[in-house]
């Protein structure tokens, strides 16, 4: 009898599994390249989407995201209504015709306090709104307080230069015998973003045009000196919160979402400061995630309602608290923020508010060549720093690859490079 009961239970369970996808198909499908790790995705489902229309939140790696959008379009069967992705990931979907315009939602959100510049980015170079800015983040320097006694005389931890950071790393190495500066240069790390958004523009005031200039040469020479004080395991680091928590690294550069765990675990141990400055200033890269609606979305009205829900000040603040991305709408951070998140918020404010700040945007208009664009910068680093090849020759050779990439994609210049007619030039 017991066996029979078990069998019956199993049959019911199997039936439920088989029926479930059919029931789910009625829900709104929200596909996102952001907030992918299981714990973050769970927070989206349980916290951020609480009170929104019934939504199935699914995540996808960025390369597969584009493939899936194209495949659905080719098959003529759209299942996804709402998409959440970075500015640069949504951009290639415009020429592919996968995005529905969202001017109506933008109009409704006119009074929410989204900065006009951010809203303009959401048009992706077209006359219409292609996405609604969703959340923002940036890359910062996290400093463990244990490193502060070794700070070189005269250096301000909130306004470091690359030379000072090198001197700091050297002092730590001499006193402790360990190289305690860290960069996420592992296979899943965002090191290419450091080179594009921080290092090169800090010395040249440009990401693309001045790639092989004398100023860039100086920047690479400085960085090579800095690398001598960087932890030799940096090539294996993906998220800097792990080496920070393990005590392997005291000073780390990374995306704010990738250091959050270390900061929330021991907030009193850390400072968050702006990345270092070069000859031209302190370049930083803002990261903007947007919400788009798919063309032929099966659930457009519901998707619009979810967008409005996600842009409510309360939801935006919850996102800051839960996943470390900051509001795009006018929503002052409450004083009772958890200490780790407050540290991040301070770091972002210091970075954006630095007197010598230079905004370096994510690559724009490269279509599916974004990966190869990153490769140009990472290969330059590998050749100059890891393989010790002559800087001038490497910059000349890599500039050729960069130039042909720009011509191939016909991507015009983006900040901080000056606007161009046609493909962004590499001088």
């Amino acid at each position: 009898m017991k066996t029979l009961n078990h069998l019956a239970c199993a049959a019911v369970a199997a039936g439920a599994i088989l029926v479930a996808p059919v029931a789910k198909a009625q829900d709104l499908v929200f596909l996102s390249t952001q907030l992918r790790p299981i714990d973050e995705a769970q927070k989206v489902r349980e916290v951020l989407l609480k009170g929104a229309p019934k939504t199935t939140y699914v995540v996808e790696e960025p390369p597969q995201f584009a493939v899936r959008m194209k495949a659905e379009q080719a098959a003529g069967k759209r299942t996804i209504s709402l998409m959440g992705a970075l500015h640069g990931e949504l951009q290639p979907l415009v020429p592919a015709g996968s995005l529905d315009t969202v001017d109506d939602i933008a109009a409704k959100l006119a009074s929410s306090g989204i900065p006009a510049g951010l809203m303009e980015l959401g048009k992706l170079g077209t006359p219409n709104q292609q996405y609604i800015p969703w959340m923002q983040a940036t890359y910062v320097l996290v400093v463990k307080k244990a490193a502060l006694p070794f700070l070189p005389a005269g250096a301000d931890v909130n306004a470091l230069t690359y030379e000072q950071l090198t001197a700091w790393g050297k002092a730590i190495q001499e006193k402790t015998g360990q190289r305690r500066i860290g960069f996420p240069a592992g296979p899943k790390g965002l090191f290419a973003r450091f080179v594009q958004g921080n290092l090169v523009p800090s010395y040249t005031g440009s990401m693309v045009t001045e790639f092989r200039s004398a100023a860039a040469e100086k920047g690479w020479a400085d960085f090579k000196a800095l690398w001598a004080t960087v932890n030799p395991n940096a090539n294996n680091y993906n998220f800097m919160q792990e080496p920070l928590m393990a005590g392997e690294v005291w000073i780390a550069w990374d995306h704010i979402a990738r250091v959050k765990d270390a900061l929330t675990a021991e907030p009193d141990q850390y400072l968050v400061v702006a990345p270092p400055a070069g000859a031209k200033g302190r370049a930083y890269m803002p990261v903007i995630a947007g919400l788009s609606i798919a063309k032929d979305a099966p659930n457009r009205a519901q998707a619009a309602a979810v967008i409005e829900h996600l842009l409510k000040p309360a939801t935006q603040l919850a996102a800051a608290q839960e996943v470390g991305f900051f509001p795009v709408v006018d929503a002052p951070l409450p004083p009772d923020l958890p200490a780790g998140v407050k540290l991040l918020a301070d770091g972002v404010a210091k970075t954006q508010g630095a007197k010598d700040a230079i905004v370096a945007l994510l690559p724009i208009g490269l279509g599916d060549k974004g990966g190869e664009f990153n490769k140009v910068y990472f290969d330059t680093f590998q050749r100059i720093v890891l393989r010790n090849e002559p800087i001038r020759a490497v910059l000349d050779a890599q500039a050729e690859i960069l130039r042909s990439l720009m011509i191939q994609t016909a991507a015009p210049c983006w900040a901080p490079d000056k606007p161009s007619q046609g493909a962004c030039p590499v001088t």
């Binding site: 390369p63 360990q178 592992g186 030799p232 294996n236 392997e248 990966g371 190869e372 990153n374």
Partner: protein, 282 residues
């Protein structure tokens, strides 16, 4: 009862269809993709692959790994197999323990060794506690290429010797005992018996084991990815990077075709070098 002549064909038809659908078609597509330069046939993807700064290193690393790992694994498996043959009690238990790594996925095996060998790993902790080292020592980065190489070799040997062992144990078991007994009567030494009886009769098994292991060794990926990351470029790793990070499917396909060509060549070399006489094929 006499079975109809077409029955065997009918029985293998599903697996043939499966292979065609999920192996031959993607294979054909990959080859086409590797020669697609945007406007018709072109060798651009291969030129891009060969001109990439990681290509020579990846090729060198992969071949060096195969050259070190395969002989060590075969020698180890032979010794282990012969030891098993001489055991009278507990043979099954030992064989069972030795083949545990077979059930562990590549990536998990890599992570196990990462936990042992990384700066704050078990090995460093142990060496520190017995006073051999004064602080964490790094074995897995580009500044210690030899240590990294041997870490990968170690992990690969731990993970994949069992498959060679299983094939050789099966081979050893089918060698008739009479040959050994006859050799004993003539007073042959154990070494002579191994050289003149075991090794020649084991040739078919050795051939299968070598082909299988070599092909898999050229395709090594997850263990290296876990232990060495970007510090130890290998061919399949580069294919993955071109596909996933650089999003250039053409160059990734060129790498895939390269791996296939290398594997096929290795197989042909083994088939020729270890030619098995029809009478020993059983």
């Amino acid at each position: 009862m006499l079975q109809p002549r077409w029955l065997p064909y009918l029985l293998i038809a599903p697996s043939v269809a499966f292979l065609a659908a999920f192996f031959l078609i993607p294979l054909g597509q990959t080859i086409l993709l590797s020669f697609d330069g945007g406007q018709g046939f072109s060798l651009a993807n291969y030129a891009r692959m060969a001109g990439d700064l990681n290509f020579p290193t990846a090729l060198r690393n992969t071949f060096a790994l195969v050259a070190v790992v395969i002989p060590l694994q075969v020698a180890l498996a032979l010794v282990m197999g012969l030891m098993l043959q001489r055991m009278t009690r507990g043979r099954e238990l030992v064989l069972w323990i030795w083949t545990i790594p077979l059930g562990v996925s590549d990536l998990a095996a890599g992570l196990v060794w990462l936990a042992i060998l990384q700066d704050s790993g078990y090995l460093n902790t142990l060496l520190f506690q017995i006073g051999v080292i004064s602080g964490p020592t790094a074995y897995l980065n580009s500044e210690a290429p030899v240590a990294l190489f041997f870490a990968v070799v170690l992990a690969e040997i731990w993970r994949a010797t069992a498959i060679v062992l299983i094939i050789l144990v099966a081979g050893i078991q089918i060698i008739p005992k009479e040959f050994g007994e006859a050799a004993d009567i003539f007073g042959a030494s154990p070494w002579t018996k191994f050289r003149k009886i075991t090794l020649p009769l084991l040739k078919p098994s050795l051939q299968s084991a070598l082909i299988l292991r070599t092909v898999l060794a050229f395709e090594v990926f997850a263990v290296v990815y876990a232990l060495g990351g970007r510090n130890f470029p290998i061919i399949v790793g580069e294919a993955y990077t071109w596909q996933n990070e650089n999003q250039n499917y053409g160059v990734a396909a060129a790498y895939a075709v390269l791996v296939m060509v290398i594997s096929l060549t290795a197989t042909i070399i083994y088939l020729k070098a270890l030619r098995v006489d029809p009478e020993t094929q059983g």
